[in-house]
């Protein structure tokens, strides 16, 4: 009896410890993001206050209003940055999905010579950081006139994304049983039709998540963009963030507001895709 009670108590206690641990971990994960949102709504005086003000006295959307009201108001050309970011990220995502689908299908469905080597070679291109590419790419782009253009950035991001999309999509096509497409072909479909009518719809959620991953990479990339863009013609949001830094001071409030603008699209997309993403990455791991 006594023993039972202690055991039960112990169990409850350890359960609660674990719950508290989880809560603390989640709080640490969320805290920096919430801090940014909070500070984008506070006046600069309050951010700079000594001793610190913990309970916000006045909240307002002034930073956002200033940001979107153009250069004259102490803002930065956020709207052009935003537009550039969207155009570049969306276009490069679409292109790298098309390329990734054909490449992933080749890896998932065909046997050919040196398959493992090709795959590894594609993955190794990921070992080259954007900053290492930026210099020679700057040279080439200067020759062909792609500096500070959307096309140049789209091309660069497509190349960054292709290896990873191929990896993901390969995994998703492998999950679709081969028999289904073969059955369709026996029933008179061409291979092309079998692909679009049978295999593509089944792999679609996975392909969507590969697309969102590609979008996020392009949306967030900084090292290449900082070298290959010059003006509002093609500057993206991550580069725009630097507009808030001066030699020795940083406009923390404005920067926090721009950060929020950058995160929101990413947040929505990631939420939509999180389930498929994990399964896509891990099928490659286990069934390789």
């Amino acid at each position: 009896m006594d023993e039972n009670a202690t055991a039960r108590l112990k169990k409850t206690a350890s359960n609660w410890t674990l719950n508290v641990a989880l809560f603390v971990a989640m709080a640490i994960i969320c805290l920096p993001g919430l801090w940014i949102v909070l500070n984008s709504l506070r006046p600069t005086v309050e951010i700079m206050a000594k001793p610190p003000i913990w309970i916000p006295q006045s909240l307002s959307f002034d930073a956002y209003v200033a940001m979107f009201s153009g250069i004259g108001e102490g803002g930065i050309p956020v709207i052009s940055y935003f537009r550039n970011s969207v155009i570049i990220a969306v276009t490069s995502t679409i292109i790298s999905l098309a390329i990734g689908m054909s490449g992933g299908y080749a890896f998932a469905r065909y046997r050919f010579k040196g398959k493992g080597g090709w795959f590894l070679g594609l993955m190794l291109t990921r070992a080259v950081p954007g900053i290492a590419l930026s210099l020679p790419l700057f040279f080439l782009y200067a020759r062909v006139g792609l500096i500070d253009t959307h096309a140049g950035m789209i091309l660069a991001y497509t190349a960054l994304n292709v290896p990873f999309t191929i990896w993901l999509i390969d995994g998703f096509f492998r999950q679709v049983p081969r028999d289904l497409a073969e059955a369709a072909q026996i029933d008179g479909c061409t291979r092309w039709q079998a692909f679009w009518q049978v295999e593509f719809p089944l792999a679609r959620p996975g392909i969507a998540s590969a697309g969102i991953f590609a979008f996020l990479t392009s949306w967030n990339e900084f090292a290449l963009a900082s070298q290959l863009t010059r003006s509002t013609d093609s500057k993206t949001l991550p580069v725009g963030l630097l507009d808030y830094t001066a030699e020795f001071t940083i406009d923390w409030r404005g920067m926090c507001a721009l950060a929020v603008v950058m995160i929101i699209p990413a947040l929505i997309l990631t939420y939509a895709v999180q389930k498929h993403l994990v399964s896509g990455l891990t099928t490659g791991a286990i069934k390789g």
């Binding site: 674990l18 989880l22 971990a25 989640m26 640490i28 994960i29 969320c30 920096p32 801090w35 951010i47 000594k50 001793p51 610190p52 913990w54 098309a98 390329i99 990734g100 054909s102 080749a106 065909y110 050919f112 090709w118 590894l120 993955m123 190794l124 291109t125 990921r126 070992a127 950081p129 954007g130 900053i131 290492a132 210099l135 020679p136 040279f139 091309l155 660069a156 190349a159 996020l216 967030n220 900084f222 090292a223 991550p238 940083i250 920067m255 926090c256 950060a259 950058m262 995160i263 990413a266 947040l267 997309l269 990631t270 999180q274 389930k275 994990v278 891990t282 490659g284 791991a285 286990i286």
Partner: protein, 298 residues
Amino acid sequence: MKAWRLPPPVLLLLPAVIVLAAIVLLPLLLSLYSSFTPFRLTRPETIYDWVGFRNYERIFTDADFWIAFGRTVLLLTVALNLEMILGLGLAMLVERFTRGQRILRTILMFPMMFSPILVGFQFKFMFNDNVGLVNNALQSLGLTDQAIPWLIDGTLAFIAICVAEVWSSTSVFAIFILAGLMAMPRDPLEAARVDGCTPWQTFRYVTWPFLMPFAFIAMTIRSLDVARAYDIIKIMTDGGPAGRTEVLWTLIARTAYSDARMGMANAMAYVAILLSIAFTAYFFSQLGKARAQVAADW
């Protein structure tokens, strides 16, 4: 007449190969060439001087480069180990919950959507010695009455960078390991309990071997990421104070753009890329082993 056609896999892979050749391979060849020249941005004609392996010889005696290399390896070791342990713990905590797990997983992915440059600014803000959250909290709690110079002292700055890295990427490990935990069959766990294993033994000999490939995938992805760490450090300290947090790629970027010594920087970049490719190849071979082992066991 029947036209000769490329075999389908070649045709399907062609676009990927073309894009990568144009945007990755060609620039790499160009930079390989320039690494054999004393090329300076300020004097374009220097690209035609061939100096052979002089840049590479200098690198091997360049203390700054090898210190930066050592620091990158240190960052890799510290960050990956912490992320692995924390990620494992986090995954096991989240796995206990059956209800509300979707929400928890979404929160878990939260740091992954932050751009590295954003992570850098955010932690630069939080670790700011004057207005940062960390110092404000420490002072308000009365733990210290001075401003701790987080990003100004070399050691503290390195710690701050590690914190930023760990915060932004522990979730990569957590998510992969969580996926592994959820894919794991229940029977062996019950069999282990029936056979009288302690929880630790169950974890060590049943759960962990199954999770290993998942952890290795996360390792591979992350080791490549940390090996080319640039954005976060560039923003937080820019390699300072006095080069105390300089890692490989901040050093290379400084050599290339601030000192304008492109040839030298490209040579450094090549050494760095080859080193990180060696690392990746090693991880891939380990992954293959772990995979084979799991396939044999299950």
